[in-house]
Structure formats: structure tokens, C-alpha cells
Subunit: 194 residues, 2 copies
């Protein structure tokens, strides 16, 4: 078991409906020393890749991405979420349908900050159905850049996002992959990773 | 002139209506090495204070706060912004009126993550009229915590927020204080700081 899995077992809370609350250390209160360990781990897993930019999405991806970026020595760009679309032509916009909420969201990045020379590591806190992630990949492609890899803190392995992204050939590294949870016992079961 | 003022002169863009665009390094694309320098500087300016938590607000404060927090060895809590109020009693909520947009916003933090034992450093990217900052101070007080200081990247010194906060007795450290800008020439004038 790695450091993040141990932390999830210690401080994560399982709620009804396959909800895993990690707001005490990951996405409301943030343990930046843990993020630093995550950065060290991603640096190992993506060693040798010509990464020159990290892309994430507001709000909870920003803290992790910023600390991780120190390990790569590269800047971070964060995508904005909006219900409305920006049509001024200065923005890359991806339309993504939320599987959970059945709503359309837009993921937006200024054209100034992504281009054909960018070799991008995408970082986010959670991967479930992968809607936000699909929007981020779409935007890197629209910019002519290259997705060098995807680093996720917690993947819900029982939802479709991770399998779909791996099937597309991307190097997706999730530090913890939850295979199942039980709200009545609080039990969390992780996928074995080598 | 300090490192942040130099960077603003190099990469900031002055727009009509006293708008200073710093989205290439501070609040859309983020230069985390610059944030690291900022963390070092805040650590000096707030040395000796018993800071055990950093509080910021989504979205653009999160990246700076996370990297700065590494210099203090403390966790970050980020407040959420919402148009609607949460009445479930588990959240501290401050109502703040936006001077610029004449709208009411709510600043929200879970009660789990702020309490009487917290000695808080508030970090944000911009200070103009100080509406968001007033909400954050209000929330720390509601929690019974102590505001040990406030670290801002860029203060608009010609707007009222900074003076008001200093008049209330808070140690407010803005790394760059803009006294005036000229959109036609691109000139930016900073307040002298010792």
C-alpha cells in the first residue's frame, strides 16, 4: 500500500452512493506535504517525458498541480469551468456532458497559454467518469499540443473513465484506484498496482 | 524594486479601466517558481508568528497559497464562492457585497477545518476593494480563530481595501502595491516599500 492509499484509509470517509470524502486533506483542506510526496511520485512515473507544462482544472486540481509542478520545474495552466460559452475566439472551449448531473459544462483555456510546442501533463484530484478529463484532452488537441501523461490522485476504478482513457493509449497514473467501498462498514478496497 | 514588481513590469499588461492583466504568470498560467519566491518572502515577513493554517479563496488564490504553505509547513484551506447560501449549519458563510459588480456573493468554509486553535495566514492574489478578504476575515472570526496576517501578491493601492485592512490593525503584506497605471503608455507605478 502506498502513502496515498494509507492516507485515504486513515482520513477518508465513505458515504452512501459511492461517495468518498477526502476533504480533510485533498480538496477543501489541503495537505501540501502530501502533495509534495505526490509530485515526487509523478516525477518518477513520468521520468524521461519532455513535459513543459501542467494543465489542471479549477478548483480542487489547482493546489495539487501547483505543488507537483515544482517537481517538474514547469508552469501550470488551469482551465476554467463555465455554464456559458465564450465566443470571443481567444479561448479554447470544450463542451463536456456531466454523466452524474446530466448537465453541459464548458472547460475553457486561453489560447495564449497552450500551443503546438506544449508537452502537457494533466493533473487532477479525482477521476470517475472522466468528463472533465475528456474536456482537458480535447483542449490540448485543439491547441496542437501533446498529452504526455495524466496524473490523478484518486481514481474510482469501478467507473468507466480510467479504462476509457487507457484504451485511448494515454499513460494514466492514478496514485490510488478504489475498486469498491462500503458505506456501512467504511471499508475501502484498492486495486493492486505494481 | 523587488522580484514581483520586476515581473509585473515585464509581463503585466495594463488595460483600460485600471485593469492589470497578469494571467501569463499569476492567475491563469501560473509560474510556480515565482510562487516559491513569494513563499520565501512571506516566511520572512511573518517570521515568529504562530501560523498553523493558510486560508485562501478559489480559484486563483489556491495555487499561490499551496506553494507558500510549503514554506510554513502548514495545510491550506480554500474558501468556496457561491451565489447561493448553504444553510445546513456545517459551514461558515460570509456574505460579501462586490463593490465592482454590485452583487452579493457568499464565501463558504466547512466548520471542520477552522476553529479556535487556528492561527491563520490569509493569502490571495489580488487586493482591490477587499470584498473577498473581508469575507475571509469574517469567517476566521466566526470560527474563533486568529488572523495572524494577510499576504497579497498585488494590491491596487489606489483602491480602498488595503488602507481599510491596515486601519483595522492587521499585518497586511502586499508584495507589489500599484499606485497608478496608464493604459495608453503601459506604465505602472509602484508604492515605495522599505
Amino acid at each position: 500500500m502506498n502513502f496515498l492509499e494509507e492516507r485515504i484509509l486513515r482520513d477518508g470517509v465513505v458515504k452512501e452512493g459511492n461517495v468518498l470524502k477526502v476533504d480533510s486533506f485533498l480538496n477543501h483542506q489541503m495537505d501540501v506535504k502530501l502533495f509534495d510526496q505526490m509530485g515526487e511520485e509523478y516525477a518518477k512515473r513520468f521520468a524521461g517525458k519532455p513535459i513543459n507544462k501542467i494543465l489542471t482544472i479549477e478548483a480542487s486540481g489547482i493546489g495539487i498541480a501547483s505543488v507537483v509542478a515544482l517537481h517538474f520545474g514547469v508552469p501550470v495552466v488551469f482551465a476554467k469551468k463555465s455554464k456559458s460559452i465564450n465566443l470571443d475566439g481567444e479561448m479554447y472551449t470544450a463542451e463536456v456532458e456531466s454523466f452524474t448531473h446530466k448537465t453541459i459544462n464548458h472547460v475553457i483555456v486561453s489560447k495564449k497559454f497552450l500551443g503546438p510546442d506544449d508537452h502537457v501533463l494533466i493533473i487532477d484530484d479525482f477521476l470517475a467518469n472522466g468528463c472533465a478529463l475528456q474536456g482537458l484532452i480535447q483542449i490540448v488537441q485543439a491547441a496542437g499540443g501533446t498529452v504526455e501523461g495524466i496524473g490523478i490522485a484518486i481514481e474510482k476504478g469501478f467507473q468507466a473513465g480510467g479504462r476509457m482513457i487507457r484504451n485511448l493509449g494515454y499513460q494514466l497514473e492514478s496514485l490510488a484506484i478504489v475498486e469498491g467501498m462500503d458505506a456501512s462498514t467504511g471499508e475501502i478496497h484498492f486495486r493492486e498496482q505494481s
